[in-house]
């Protein structure tokens, strides 16, 4: 089966998404695995977004520029991408499963009658065939799926591969023109940004969360230093909020926010169910607590039975050392 591997280069408000470089790494692996001159191409849909092409580590970039694609619009992008797929017949299209691209992902297959694979966590080329590992039922089971037929639309979850580095030289860009109807039924109007306020803990990729083990308000500075080094923010469990050491907006748990960061570092949090409910969805949980039997260790991925007041500065130092 011929055809190239495409990665939908997702961008929003002028920036490439974090997921795109991950998918390029994955796409590169698949293209190499299929061999026989299979190329990795990035597809850039947008308006005046060609400048982003230089940051895409692909063999080539196919760019469609149209005013209707200026902001995410599932109707316009589906029409554009469907036309492109019919025209160029790729082997597979990797679509990042994010809020920007997800609509398009769902719409394409019905239009083209192609196969779709959702919740893909891993993708391999086996003997010229594609095989996906998909996360089902909220992560309770995993399915290995054989993908026959082309093109296949594959929705890829965050974290499948490390991000690709920016290419040394900008990839060649092919401009393709697509006709889109003037009267689209879905019309973007504006963005509504949240009120600026205190840190929104639900939007952080990294949370250093402090519990009673932090002991005093002054010690919260230790957590803040680490959070700064990791590019995140400090959140807390209830006892800390109750003391008035941090504002209510920082509370994680049943009475506070439910967070799903990439890293949740629970520092001196024992792990009451009310708290666990608010953070169990984090991708990586590292817990530090003096009590080796603290319930937090049953939800954490990595645990350390020790003193947070010693551990936090040590980790801050170690993280800073790695950055140098």
């Amino acid at each position: 089966m011929a055809g190239n591997i495409w990665v939908l280069a997702e961008h929003w408000r002028g920036r490439l998404s974090d997921l795109t470089p991950e998918l390029l790494t994955l796409g590169r692996e698949i293209a190499d695995g299929l061999g026989a001159g299979t190329k990795l191409e990035a597809v850039l849909l947008g308006h005046g977004a060609q400048g982003l092409a230089a940051g895409l580590a692909a063999d080539g970039v196919i760019s469609i520029d149209h005013a209707a694609l200026a902001e995410p619009n599932p109707e316009a992008s589906c029409l554009a991408l469907a036309a492109l797929i019919e025209q160029q017949k790729p082997r597979a299209v990797l679509v990042p499963l994010s809020n920007v691209a997800a609509d398009l992902f769902g719409l394409l297959p019905a239009r083209l009658t192609v196969s779709l694979v959702n919740f893909c966590r891993d993708l391999r080329a086996v003997d010229g065939r594609l095989e996906a590992l998909c996360v089902l039922y909220g992560g309770k089971l995993e399915a290995t799926v054989a993908i026959s037929g082309a093109p296949a639309i594959i929705g890829v979850l965050p974290g499948s591969r490390p991000a690709s580095a920016a290419p040394a030289s900008a990839p060649p860009v092919t401009e393709v023109t697509v006709e889109l109807p003037a009267d689209l039924r879905v019309r973007f109007e504006t963005y509504v940004d949240p009120e600026p306020g205190d840190v929104d803990v639900t939007q952080q990729d990294v949370l250093v969360s402090v519990g009673r083990g932090i002991q005093t308000q002054d010690n919260i500075a230790l957590a803040e230093e680490l959070a700064e080094a990791l590019g995140g923010a400090v959140s807390a469990s209830r006892p800390v909020i109750d003391q008035g050491w941090l504002p209510l907006t920082r509370q994680v748990g049943k009475s506070g926010a439910t967070v799903k960061p990439k890293l949740y570092l629970a520092a001196g949090i024992s792990g009451a169910p009310e708290h666990v409910e608010g953070m169990k969805g984090a991708a990586l949980i590292v817990a530090v607590n003096t009590d080796p039997h603290a319930p937090i260790f049953s939800v954490a991925h990595y645990g350390y039975a020790g003193d947070v007041l010693e551990f936090l500065p040590a980790l801050t130092a170690a993280v800073k050392a790695r950055k140098k």
């Binding site: 297959p109 779709l116 959702n118 039922y137 993908i147 504006t190 509504v192 993280v319």
Partner: protein, 259 residues
């Protein structure tokens, strides 16, 4: 505004899920069905629209285990009609369900056209497709997903739809009606309906039943095997001095691109 809400059952993941003896499917006997969470939000969004600007809410689901209770609950919450699509014993994948619904909906008496079809923007078992956009495409209706709010425009020809992006930002869209919307979350959590009201609905209301034409489409995907992910039951405990552990943690974070 007349609104159709599509609801479906998914396995309750509070319970342990087991793999069937064939090694490549879910053991459906051991599963406890629950209404897909986002479908419940879609119903709430529909009821909020009805509360505000009138119209009707019809809920529809493909027949499956325990779906009756979900439909009666929807009636108790304020839905006007509940319809069950009888399609035999089969269990449908998302792509099959979308195809089936696209065929059945026009045939349901006194239903179409509706101004709005709402359902969850995704379900935890949507492996080979996503119902809402796939149905929209088949019904030739516009679609917007990851919706967190809908307001009817005065003339009834369009709706203001809010779509969620990162960082708390929402996109405001104007969508031509009729349309299909995939709901991520209603502006308010789904309402609670007391047991007594559900009981009353079971006594006084009926579920309409429509027969589905024979299935024509099959999923294009083949599941080769199903496995349980490696148990993340308990933390891997790191040993050593604070400095040693800190350096191990830093390494773990670095390997995940976090430090």
């Amino acid at each position: 505004m007349n609104i159709l809400v599509l609801m479906k059952m998914v396995p309750d993941i509070v319970e342990e899920l087991e793999i069937a003896p064939d090694g490549k499917s879910l053991d459906v006997e051991a599963v406890r069905p629950i209404v897909s969470e986002r479908d419940d939000h879609a119903l709430e969004q529909a009821l909020l629209l009805k509360d505000k600007s009138g119209g009707t809410v019809t809920v529809l689901a493909i027949e499956s285990r325990d779906v009756d209770e979900v439909l009666f609950t929807a009636l108790a919450k304020g839905a006007d009609r509940a319809i069950k699509v009888a399609a035999g014993e089969a269990i449908f994948t998302a792509a099959e369900a979308a195809a089936l619904l696209a065929r059945v909906l026009p045939a349901v008496p006194n239903l179409m056209p509706v101004q709005l079809v709402v359902t969850g923007c995704q379900a935890i078992d949507d492996l080979d497709g996503v119902v809402a956009p796939a149905l929209a495409e088949r019904l030739k209706l516009p679609y917007l997903g990851i919706v967190t709010g809908v307001e009817a425009e005065a003339d009834g020809s369009r709706a203001i739809v809010f779509k969620e992006y990162a960082g708390g930002t929402r996109g405001r869209y104007s969508v031509c009606l009729p349309a299909v919307l995939g709901v991520q979350a209603a502006p308010k959590p789904p309402r609670y309906v007391p047991v007594a009201k559900v009981r009353a609905a079971m006594k006084s209301r009926t579920l309409e039943c429509v027969e589905a034409p024979a299935q024509e489409e099959r999923s294009l995907l083949e599941i080769v095997s199903m496995t349980k992910p490696q148990a993340a039951g308990r933390a891997e405990m790191l040993e050593g001095s604070p400095e040693e552990v800190a350096s191990k943690v830093a390494e773990i974070l670095s390997s995940r691109g976090l430090a």
